[in-house]
Structure formats: C-alpha cells, structure tokens
Symmetry: C2
Subunit: 340 residues, 2 copies
DNA sequence: GGTCATAGGTCGTTGGAAAAT
DNA sequence: TATTTTCCAACGACCTATGAC
C-alpha cells in the first residue's frame, strides 16, 4: 500500500479531492462532519502528502543548497551546522555539497544539467571560481556568497571583516611584546581574496606599531590544512632568525604549526606564540589550547539564510554586504595562563 | 525571462514538446536538422529542466537524506563527506540534517508532515530513537542505519565490528605492557548499544589476558564529547591508584582526556597511554598525536549508499548486516616514536 | 517496415471560479 | 447571501499510442 494519494483518500471518504486538500491544509474551512470523515480516511490510509508534487505546484521546494569546499574541514562543518539550524527556523531544509575546492566542480554545480533548479537558493562558499564566471552561471538561482568576496557589489555576501580580524590577531601578539611575528597562509595568486585581506590586516598591525614587515616571515600556503601549517612552520624554524610569534590564517594551519613546534621541542607560547582564525572547537582542547579569532558562525548563518530567503521571495533584490562579528579568544598558545 | 519551459522551447523551434524532450534526453533519435534547430532554441532561451517536475513524473527525486546527531562532531562530518562522495557516483545528492541526539527531533523527522517523502531514502545515524518506534514510523521510506544497531534484523545496517574494535584497542594497550587499563565512554543505560558493545570488547580483551576488570576504571559518559572525556579523566586521576592506560570510546573523549592529562602534568604515553576510536583527522595533529581505531569511513559510506539504493530500486528487500573494516593507527599517545 | 514527429494523457497537488446547500 | 463543496485547469516534464513519411 505504498503511497496513498489525495484521490485515494477522497474516494474512501466519498468527497472531492479538493475537500481532502482543504482538510489537510486547513486553508479553507470544512464542516465538522466532513472533517471527521476525511480525517478518518486520512488516518486509515496513512496519507502523506507527496512533497514533490506540492513543490511543483507551489513553485517552491523548501530546500536550499549549501556548497562548501570540504565538509571535513571543521570550520565548514561547524558553519554547516549553524546553517541547517538557521534554515530550519524558516521551515527550510539544506542540501549539502562539497567542491573540494575544485573549480570544475564549482562550475558543474551551476551548469545547465545541475541539480540547482531543485533548490530555491544557493549558499556558496567559493574557492576558485571567478566573479564573471559565477555571474554568467547563476542566472535565475538566487545566490548568497559566504566568506569569499569575489569582486565587490555583484553578489550578496556575508563574511567577517577579514582585515580587522587579522589586525586584531596580530595586535594581540604585539601587545604581548612579540616583535618578530610571522604569518602563515598568504595566497597572493589566489582568485579568492580572503588570504590577501588577512595579509593586509597583518601588515597594517605591524606598520601601525612602527615595525617593518620582514617579507621572509610571510609564508604562503596553497590551502588551509594542518599539514601545510606544519610544513610552513618548518620553514620558519629553519630561518637564521626564527619568529617569536606566528599569526596563522586559520586554526588548522595553527594546529599544524603547533605540531611542528612540539616535535621540535619549541615551547608554546614561551618561545613562539601562535594565534589562528576560525574559532573551531578543536582549538579549545589542543595542547596547548589555541588562541583564535572566532567569527560568529551562528550570526553568519542566520544572516546568510535570511538574506537568501529575502532574495527568493523578491524582497531583497539589491546585493548586500553583510559583516558578521568576530572576537578574539585568548588561550594558552599565546598566554600560558589565560584569565578565562 | 525567468525559467523557460519545454513548451517555450518547442514554440520557438516550431516543433512539439515531445521532440524537444527527445533532444534534451537523447532517448529517442531525432533528425539532424531538427536537432540543430531545437538545440539553438534551447541555447537561446537558456533552457534548464525543472527537476521538481521531472522528479514528479519519474517518481524519483535523486536525493537521499543523511541524518546525523551532530554535524560539528568530526566523525560525522568526515562520514558525511564520504556519503556525499559515494552518493554522487550514483548520481544522487544528499540532504543533511542533524538531530542533536534529541529523540523528539528524530521522531519529527519520520513523522507525517516531514520532508521525508521528498527523498528516495534515508541514511540514519540514530541516537535515542528506539527500535519499534523507528519501525512504526518508517513505513514507505527506505532506511539504512549507520552505526547504531537498534535491535537485530529489523533494519539494514552498516557499522564496524564494535566488539572487535574495542578489543583491538585494548589489546594494543596490553601489548605495550599496560595492566591497569581504564575505559571512558560506557553508556549502560542508553538505547543505543555502540557503547555497550565497546565495553564488551574491552572486557573480553582484559579477560583473555587473564586480568580481572576493575569496575571503578570504567567511567561512563552520557555523550562522546571532548569536555566529557576531560571530566572523566579527572575522576580517574583522583583514584587512589590511577590507570596506566585509557581506552576511550571515541577520539573526542580521548582528546578531552589528553587535555586533562596535559594540564595535570601527566606524561602521555609514559605515565598513561591513550587510545581512541574514530580515526578523525584531528588526532593526527594533536599533541601527542592520537592512537586510534579507525573505521573505514569511505567503505561505510559506499556500503550504506549502495545498500540504500538497492532498497530503493527494490533489489535488496531483506535487511542486511554489513560490517565495515577498521584498523589500528598507532601514534604517539601510546608509542612515543611510532614506526610510521 | 523503419524512422521520426505529434497529440494527448499522467504524475499528485493546489487554486480560481462555479455550483450546490 | 453565506458558507461549503465540486469541477477543472494549471505546475513542467515524461511517455504511450498513433500516424506520416
């Protein structure tokens, strides 16, 4: 008895399909007598509305897609959690996909035969797709970008203030008396500009403190993964004059860097202080625990979802630039015994 | 020009809807002349098939749902990644939801007004829902369970051999000469039985080694989170005779336990060796890196997805019990300088 | 008798407008 | 006239049956 339809229920209750629909939806009043009769038939047949049919009729699927580079990167997993939660408060569910930072996959996702038409909108955390490419491909599907900017003004966009975040992290290190501060994670040739913005913030902090930037202390990494942080740290340790602090562009890089430091017997924070960005849970229980600039992920998710739903229902057509708050969480990787 | 349909294209090309459909799907041969003409119209109007309509007609959505307790728990994030990848090889996309281990939310998910009918099937990693409740609610929606067993034989199920995994972890510690081995993570009163199976494996290993189990070394935790592992470790350290090794039921508990050990100045592995379960990436870069029993998540995902698709297309009606492989990854938390 | 194209019905739901009470 | 209920036409793609060449 797989799947009874409105027609089945109507036949059993001896009423029209429309009446059953009215009982199910409650939009149009139905007399008590019929309501009871229909409800009984509904229960007996264990009727469940076919949501695909409903969506077709309504022109809405009630689903949005969230596309991130890698779901097993803690920041994205934690962000996804918040997005799912935020979407639910609006009655939406979330389809999740990952691109592995592969531009081809990002393109595919927006291509003609993609599943994109199944969703009312798309939250995209892009890595390598370019602005005009994205513009060309997103006709019709409402899109809100997360994190990466991709050219100003063309798309709705939610992120933290990356320059300020990087500056805050670097100034924290400066405030501890560190003067030879390295940076791990620059991506001067990336299409995305997150890394570049963080480099800007880092430079600003140093310059405001009257320090000159030592370019060999800026170690680029192609991605933000633990092992790349570990490798970058090795290079820094091999310098004739190693740093006394490191600003890592995300927490995974920082954790990789601390891994290298632990192996090398370098004390954190005594010899080298480490700070990251992302505020992932992993950093609370690492040894030492990790000082980090934590974006308000719940705020990002809420803003992104409500912006997207605004675009979907047509109430927010003009691209918006939303900045979510961030804050510095001071832990053992910079201060041996944090106040908190 | 939002959304042209087959009709629009047909009108523009001066052919019937069916012919356009044939060009789009390629199922029925179309003469070259018409094909070119139709293709031109397709391109001009930037036609994209409405997948909701297609799904309604085909009776398939091409989507499965993956429901996990918490997406920000690394094991589930990493598993989700593999599930998405596995689903894609079959042309399926994945809707993700999380229950927060809340039984109410698990029930809701299967209830009458749920979105479940939008999906061809459901991969569920249950926490607190019971067997008959699940049975009662899953009429019609094909389900495959991940991890938790929930009564034998009623559902398709994919997991590692939890007893063997726990035994392997414990025997590894025994093989290192440890004799006072604690266990963190038992859940004697849980509806799920994963924790209980791991306790069984732990006991088996000790008994086979001719040791008696010291019940005060088995510390239960309501969930598998870092802070609970940290608390459990504090209790163990407070014992008159603390353990010389700890088997944690998952990696997060182990990481929490190591956090406590680091604070207390206890050396790992010298004073206390630590082993976890899950093989999450976090453990590769923790200090010290974490020895763990790693389930083959890709295998779990592949098996689960293909089993589910089998149920969907009717080729695998009888509940199957699949066991995925696991292996011990030896790292610094048990052996100061691992071979690898 | 193939090949190729068309008309028309179907999937299950919803909404407008008419018809019953 | 007001309230219920019914009929019928969508939503957009797919497919069976039918016929033209």
């Amino acid at each position: 008895m797989a799947g009874s339809t409105l027609r089945d229920v109507a036949r059993r209750a001896g009423v029209s399909i429309r009446t059953v629909s009215n009982v199910v939806n409650g939009s149009v009043p139905v007399s008590d007598e019929l309501r009871v009769r229909v409800q009984a038939a509904l229960d007996e047949l264990d009727y469940r509305p076919n949501l695909v049919a409903r969506n077709l009729r309504r022109g809405r699927s009630g689903m949005i897609a969230l596309v991130v580079p890698e779901l097993d990167v803690p920041y994205f997993a934690e962000l996804a959690r918040e997005v799912i939660t935020a979407a639910r408060t609006h009655g939406y569910v979330v389809m999740l996909d990952q691109t592995d930072g592969d531009g081809e996959r990002e393109r595919e996702l927006l291509g003609r035969e993609s599943r994109a038409t199944m969703f009312d909108g798309l939250l995209l955390s892009p890595l390598s797709i370019s602005a005009d490419e994205l513009r060309r491909r997103t006709n019709r599907v409402p899109v809100v970008l997360l994190g990466e900017h991709i050219f100003n003004g063309s798309f709705h966009h939610v992120a933290i203030d990356n320059v300020a975040a990087a500056r805050d992290a670097t100034e924290h290190l400066l405030g501890l008396g560190r003067r030879r501060i390295a940076a791990i994670g620059d991506q001067p040739y990336s299409t995305g500009e997150t890394a570049q913005l963080r480099t800007t913030g880092y430079r600003q902090a140093l310059e405001r403190a009257g320090l000159t930037v030592d370019e060999e202390l800026i170690v680029p990494t192609p991605r933000f993964h633990r092992h790349l942080g570990a490798e970058a740290m090795e290079r820094l340790l091999a310098l004739p004059e190693p740093p006394d602090a490191v600003f890592c562009y995300n927490d995974l890089l920082a954790i990789g860097a601390m891994h290298t430091l632990a192996r090398a017997g370098v004390r954190v924070p005594d010899d080298i202080a480490v700070v990251g960005v992302d505020g992932i849970q992993e950093g609370r229980y690492s040894s030492p625990s990790l000082t980090t600039v934590a974006p308000d992920k719940a705020a990002i998710a809420r803003t992104a979802v409500s912006t997207l739903l605004g675009v979907i229902d047509g109430s927010a057509p003009a691209p918006t630039e939303a900045k979510a708050p961030h804050r510095l969480l001071v832990r053992q990787s910079t201060v041996a015994t944090p106040a908190d």
